[in-house]
């Protein structure tokens, strides 16, 4: 078996043996499952509130009452909370995956041995990236299956084939989003001397991408960005926000992810029930930026591994 695959398989095996990784994974999958349940409880109660309001308005003599707005929402909106959990827990999990991938080698003392053989630096890099991708693919596949099964088990409106297709595309997009964060975790695990800094810097970047840039672009506070109903709200008017949108908009990966995901899951404030083709066309720029970001991280990781020098480490500092 080529050495790259051996490294990749070893990577996945070791990762799935780690208790902390399992804890994060369990929380992530549980939250995905819970999000369907939360969506069901919330929509059922809201429908009851709507019915009570209609009765109240009828008694007050109002005749022209709008139809229940929940009925106009597509079936996929039941999964809109998953966007938030991938955005929050998924990306943090991905940072841990990338971080552990290299820190593990540094701490075990296997790295000096591996890097004494020059050809192994490249293979180590490709093996690690493949292993990380496989782990993320397994995580995303598990959540996709959980979502589809929860839609069958809970009394939701059933998903039709095009809904499943949209859900699939959403999870494919999520895979790339998580891969970006895993590579950021890997990069700082290679570059940074201390283990804590290697975890804290990606967390800083994560906060910047998830909250700071979207706030500057959209004017929304961090908690408002976690509300799936308003997460892709357009920014207020004004020169400041126009400037931010122009210069910081392209860098705002978190904002791109949530707005693209909202459109894929038919949860967008701007476009509801737009076709998949239209959603993909409208968001091709965002996807391109995400892929560029992944490409940049891959190149930096590759360069860093090739130039990695073994040093005496105080990894706990």
């Amino acid at each position: 078996m080529p050495i790259i695959f051996t490294i990749a398989i070893q990577e996945v095996k070791v990762l799935f043996r780690e208790r902390v990784f399992f804890l994060l994974l369990a929380i992530f999958i549980l939250m995905t499952l819970a999000s369907s349940f939360i969506g069901l409880v919330a929509t059922t109660t809201t429908t009851s509130i709507y019915n009570a309001s209609v009765e109240f308005l009828h008694q007050a003599g109002t005749d022209n009452i709008p139809a229940n707005p929940l009925n106009a929402l597509p079936a996929l909106t039941n999964f809109r909370n998953v966007i938030v959990y991938i955005f929050l827990i998924g990306s943090l999990l991905a940072i841990v995956v990338g971080h552990r991938s290299f820190i593990r080698e540094r701490k075990s003392g296997a790295l000096p041995l591996l890097l004494t053989r020059p050809i192994l630096a490249e293979k180590l890099f490709f093996g690690k990236v493949l292993g990380i991708s496989l782990a993320l693919f397994a995580i995303i596949s598990a959540t996709f299956i959980v979502s589809v099964f929860s839609s069958l088990l809970l009394p939701f409106r059933h998903l039709v084939a095009s809904d499943i297709e949209r859900l699939f595309l959403f999870y494919a997009l999520s895979f790339f989003y998580l891969l970006f964060f895993a590579l950021v975790g890997l990069l700082f695990a290679i570059k940074t001397k201390s283990e804590s800094l290697a975890l804290f810097v990606p967390v800083c970047i994560w906060v910047g991408i998830s909250f700071v840039l979207p706030e500057l672009v959209s004017g929304q506070t961090p908690t408002a960005l976690l509300n799936p109903v308003t997460m892709d709200q357009v920014a207020p008017d004004g020169t400041f926000f126009a400037l931010m949108r122009t210069y910081l908009g392209p860098l705002s990966l978190g904002w791109h992810y949530t707005s693209f995901s909202s459109q894929l899951l038919n949860n967008s404030l701007q476009i509801t029930n737009a076709g998949i083709g239209s959603a993909l066309r409208d968001n091709s720029g965002k996807l391109f930026i995400l892929l560029i970001a992944i490409g940049v991280c891959l190149s930096l990781c590759f360069y860093s591994i090739r130039n990695y020098t073994i040093q005496e480490e105080n990894i706990y500092e």
Binding site: V20, L23, L24, I27, M31, A34, I38, V41, A42, T43, T45, T46, S48, I49, Y50, A52, S53, F56, L57, I65, P66, P69, L70, L73, N81, V84, L88, I89, L92, R100, E195, S196, L197, L199, F200, V201, V203, C204, V207, F211, V212, E215, L216, G219, T221, P222, T223, L226, N227, P228, V229, T230, P236, D237, G238, F240, L269, N314, Y316, E317
Partner: protein, 327 residues
Amino acid sequence: MNNFAKIFTVAKKEYADALKNRVFLVFLFFLLFLIGVSIIVAAFDFQGKVAVYQNALLKLRQSGQVVENLSEPQFFPLQLLRGAIEYLEIIGAILAIVLGYLSIAKEKGNNTLQLILTRPISRFSVYLGKFLGNALLIISVSGIVFVGITLVVDIVGKTMLTGSQLYRIFLTFIFTIIYLLIFFSISTLLSILLKSLPNALIISFVIWILFVLIIPQIGDTMDPDNQVPGGLFNSLHMVKADQTAILAKFSHYEKMRDNLEQTSLTKHYERLAFAFLGIKDTYNGKSLEFIFSERAIDGWWISLASLLFGVFGAVIFVKKRVLWKEE
């Protein structure tokens, strides 16, 4: 050297060490930057709302329509602090986790804990010294943040804050310290308790993400008026009094949602801070007596949690037979 002097020496060392630590400094500057940005964004957001109001007013006047029903956006300078409080909840808590982790990790990593404990100083004094040093650091950091906040609000809001407003900021500052000490104590406790330091750090982050982001998010998402863009009641054109009458019939659901939110210590801090600063409309312009009568429970919750985690950390530090064993 008496016991107090020993505790003070450990505290002084903790304080000085943290100020030299890059991780801590990175997060401190990040927090200050974010808070500044959030206030500026809030000010521009308010300007945007004023511009929208003025445009609407102009159009209505030009078309000869009645403009009395249009309400002008009111400026409340302390409401600019919404984003700042949210960043204190998020980044402030990470900063406290960093301090708690580093406080134990540096001793374990350098194997200095064994050396310290060979000296005539009790484990409790070492813990107390560490806690005191980091608490002083949290007080200093919060002090810098809140002085900065006051200055930025003065400049951006083009207004001088009144004595009452400054007192409300001071109360928020006090409860911010108590809130941050919770995360410091959790992180310290886990770093003492767990054999693997990285696991302690990751579990601290898991607790952080649950308390700070996930539980409040679930509560917010379950709000019936948050299910439809624009709000359910707005789509039915219902006035506030009618909304309250309808929601009273679903009090069990609201109670369940509220109980869920109350499991998050961050939510308690947020409710208290938003009440003091008048960010939540219900408390805007209300007296402090009224706010305390309504929200004292939140203050008690975070104070109790801070105390409990601190005491628990001390007990583990004193009682744990082997504090550090190489993996």
